[in-house]
């Protein structure tokens, strides 16, 4: 903390302003010109410029602590340039000019992909040491104009910065660069934002990016993406990683996605998944698209009608993690037939030692797996339900459909003509 208090900004400038400026030693001899800056991207401490690339095709840098003065039109060194002072690029360093300028980066704050027009640098003094610190990337029109020598036309425009801590670069990095810190940053984004971000990337980067993420975070973001993007990502991922991703997702969604992949690919992925999860997905995939069966999930809460309210709470604590909704509890006999339903509210209000069979409602609205989406929607609306159970002819419980599932069908993400058509159809059928 102490050194921070003494930090003193000597000068600020843009990378584009100092790139190409001459470097002189104290005797006024020209040593070279500033071609690029090496910065430490990750690792200990704040990011800072570590060296100056000063000659074409020469891989060693002038270390930054050999710089006495840095201005807009020249750089002066502390002493004469000696061969043994020069340092090569370290594994945790990158060149800003080569790997950052003009490239796409992720703006974590705005959750979108932007292009780097320029880089803002601070020349600071802390005690008797001097540093160059990259502060922000400039993504605005004014930065663009500056690069083209037209900044005077945009003097009234504010510079648009993304501060250094909110950027995530995308270019192929050297293997040694640590990813952990970057992951931590991304994990803080809302899955829906992360999904939008990934959709903005080109397909090659999408896959790399997904592989870098924590699998649970990746799965959440993946669920939020549009179906086409999901398919594309799965097709480019290696099968092991794809199956890990799918395992983290609800089986009904997995079944829908796999249903749109080529059969061979879907089979390969299912075989790599845990047998239990894969089995559920296989059962769901049997149902045709547009039917209740294809919408339902098997992750609902089923309890035996024999148990008491206290026992029910104990079981709920375990079951709640996996289930898609816990608002309705389905009471299922040993032979899997559905005998009643109980809402969480009713369970909360009941006496602790009451038996569920005495509390449950036995008049249940159900649908069959071959019923159409419209039938499901009508029933949910007519009876004001949040969830509807799906049963077979013998009244055996197969799964549930939530309002969310049906909403996704009726209102896709983007406003488009198709949405309009769907809306129109659903309105008519519900009325009829």
């Amino acid at each position: 903390m102490n050194h921070r208090a003494q930090l003193h900004v000597l000068r600020e400038f843009f990378f584009s302003q100092i790139q190409g400026e001459p470097i002189y030693d104290p005797e006024g001899n020209r040593v070279g010109k500033l071609r690029d800056l090496a910065i430490r991207w990750e690792g200990e401490g704040p990011p800072r410029v570590t060296g100056i690339k000063f000659a074409k095709g020469y891989q060693k840098h002038i270390p930054i602590d050999k710089v006495e003065e840095m201005t807009h039109d020249n750089i002066r060194l502390v002493g004469k340039l000696k061969e043994e002072d020069l340092i090569p690029l370290q594994p945790d360093e990158i060149y800003v000019g080569k790997w950052l300028m003009d490239k796409q980066i992720i703006d974590l704050k705005g959750s979108k992909v932007v292009r780097v027009n320029d880089i803002k640098l601070f020349w600071v003094k802390s005690g008797d040491r001097k540093y160059v610190i990259p502060m922000a990337v400039d993504i605005g029109l004014r930065g663009l104009a500056r690069r083209l020598g037209l900044e005077f036309l945009f003097k009234r425009l504010e510079n648009q910065y993304v501060w250094w801590q909110f950027i995530q670069h995308l270019e192929e990095r050297t293997a040694a660069l640590q990813l952990r810190a970057e992951r931590a940053k991304l994990d803080q984004l809302h899955p829906a934002d992360l999904a939008d971000l990934i959709e903005d990337l080109d397909y090659k980067k999408r896959t790399d990016f997904m592989e870098d993420l924590d699998v649970e975070v990746a799965a959440e973001a993946f669920s939020e993406m549009e179906r086409d993007t999901q398919i594309e990502i799965l097709e480019h991922m290696n099968d092991m990683q794809a199956s890990d991703l799918l395992e983290e997702m609800p089986p009904d969604e997995v079944a829908d996605i796999l249903g749109e992949l080529p059969e061979a690919k879907a089979d390969a992925l299912l075989n790599l998944m845990e047998p239990e999860g894969a089995q559920e997905v296989r059962q769901l995939m049997v149902y045709e698209e547009g039917t209740a069966g294809s919408l339902m999930t098997t992750e609902y809460i089923a309890l035996s009608p024999q148990i008491t309210v206290t026992e029910a709470f104990a079981q709920l604590r375990h079951l709640a993690r996996e289930a898609e909704t816990i608002y309705y509890l389905y009471l299922v006999e040993d032979d899997k037939t559905l005998s009643g339903v109980l809402s969480l509210r009713e369970l909360l209000m009941a006496e602790p030692d009451a038996v569920l069979r005495d509390l449950m409602q036995t008049r249940i609205i159900t649908v069959h797996p071959q019923d159409s989406e419209q039938t499901v929607a009508e029933n949910l609306k007519k009876y004001d339900l949040l969830t509807i159970p799906v049963v077979d002819e013998a009244n055996r419980m197969l799964g549930i459909i939530t309002v969310d599932d049906i909403l996704e069908v009726l209102i896709p993400d983007r406003s488009s003509l198709e949405t309009f058509a769907n809306f129109f159809v659903s309105k008519r059928t519900v009325r009829g």
Binding site: R115, Y203, L417
Partner: protein
């Protein structure tokens, strides 16, 4: 047997899903300017320019394939690659040129819309505003998938030229012979129109458009074979249409020694010579081509400008998400349409400058394309092979020579 059939039908389905970028791009080559050029070529020189059709098809396939490959391997648009690999100045130079050149083209598309509907007695003060509103809403309200389907559907209308070519009842024997026997003349007139024909077929903006639509579709190296087929079919279809336009005008207007300077005059001249329906089809073809290109050109211009400068772009975004994209798009179509409505705008000199700008830009774009496609860091195993590479450089050299000739001759005129 059944397995083989299933496999075949699977391949056909994949092709149908991938189809689009190549066919659409190739068809936009036959825009209002293209149809004018071919009509004038046929009317002035008869069948003497037919031999260019086959080599031009091959060159077009080759050039567009490079962009498809660039898009499929890198997942990035051409503007994006130029910005990242050659820096902001080159990107800005090319983009400013493209905006100006494309604006000229857009104006000529609206002129085509006005001219084709005037043939049916519709005033341009009605047709142009209606077309403007139609085009603007199509892009504004549609998703990319929907718009692409409409574009593909519009390609069918190009067949009207094939039919009207047949109705002109040309001597098929002569047509076949002229198609394969090169026929070169050194007269200045002939060279100008030859270069014009080539210039209208291979334009800078197409390379950006085809690569962007390959990327937008998410086509990768796996589906790239299908994209190549899409491209080949598109280029062949485009040049067949061009051939029939030349044939229609050669068999009628040229034989009677009538002089024409525009597609509109060509359609009118066809009426007494090849019948009312040949005239109607010719005019409908012109309307379709102009409308089609007037939609795609501003769309793709806005798209790659945003790509180069890092603004959000693409019609799957909302106006709020991608304001610059939509403003640029709107400005381009509105200016394109308004210019036609002002009576005193010197259309000829607008066309002239747009042609010159495109001619100047083409060499840069082609050279960047070849440098990019030969970059091993970028393309890996998909760089050009030695034979293809040699061939590409030769073709590019020829195209550059021709486009410089065009620029020079247009100044000499």
């Amino acid at each position: 047997m059944r397995g083989r059939f299933a496999n075949l039908s699977r391949r056909i389905w994949i092709f149908l899903a991938i189809m689009g970028p190549g066919i659409i791009t190739a068809n936009v080559d036959n825009d209002a300017g293209g149809i004018t050029t071919y009509s004038v070529a046929g009317a002035t020189h008869g069948y003497k320019l037919l031999w260019t059709i086959i080599p031009m098809t091959l060159v077009l396939i080759m050039v567009q394939e490079i962009c498809i490959r660039l898009g499929a391997v890198t997942g990035k648009g051409l503007a994006d690659l130029i910005r990242e690999r050659t820096g902001v100045r080159w990107a800005a130079f090319i983009m400013v040129g493209m905006i100006l050149g494309d604006l000229g083209n857009i104006i000529s598309e609206f002129a085509g819309i006005a001219a084709s509907l005037e043939l049916f007695g519709v005033s341009k003060y009605i047709s142009v505003p209606v077309a403007l509103v139609f085009i603007w809403f199509l892009v504004h309200r549609g998703t990319y998938k929907l718009v692409e389907k409409i574009f593909l559907g519009a390609c069918v209308f190009y067949l009207s030229y094939v039919i009207s070519g047949c109705m002109a009842n040309p001597p098929w024997g002569t047509v076949m012979k002229e198609l394969v026997v090169p026929n070169f003349s050194l007269s200045g007139d002939y060279i100008i129109i030859l270069v014009g024909v080539i210039g209208t077929t291979i334009a800078p903006w197409q390379q950006f458009y085809i690569q962007a639509s390959v990327v937008e579709k998410g086509i990768t190296t796996k589906e790239y074979v299908y994209s190549k087929l899409d491209n080949t079919i598109g280029c062949i279809a485009c040049n067949i249409v061009a051939m029939f336009i030349i044939v229609a005008c050669a068999a009628t207007i040229h034989v009677h020694g009538i002089k024409i300077e525009s597609a509109q005059e060509a359609a009118l001249a066809l009426k007494p010579l090849a019948g009312h329906w040949a005239f109607v089809l010719f005019a409908i073809g012109l309307l379709n081509a102009s409308l089609f290109s007037a939609t795609i050109l501003p769309l793709s211009t806005a798209y790659y400008v945003c790509e180069a400068f890092g603004f959000e772009g693409g019609i799957d975004h909302t106006w709020k998400e991608a304001p610059i994209f939509y403003w640029l798009y709107t400005l381009l179509v509105v200016i394109g349409a308004l210019v036609i409505l002002f009576p005193n705008i010197p259309l000829i000199s607008v066309m002239f400058w747009s042609q010159v700008i495109n001619g100047v830009l083409l060499p840069f774009v082609l050279i960047f394309m070849l440098l990019l496609v030969n970059n091993k860091d970028l393309m890996g195993e998909y760089v050009n092979g030695p034979v293809l590479n040699g061939l590409s450089w030769i073709v590019v050299a020829v195209l550059i020579t021709l486009s410089s000739m065009m620029v020079i001759t247009s100044f000499l005129q």
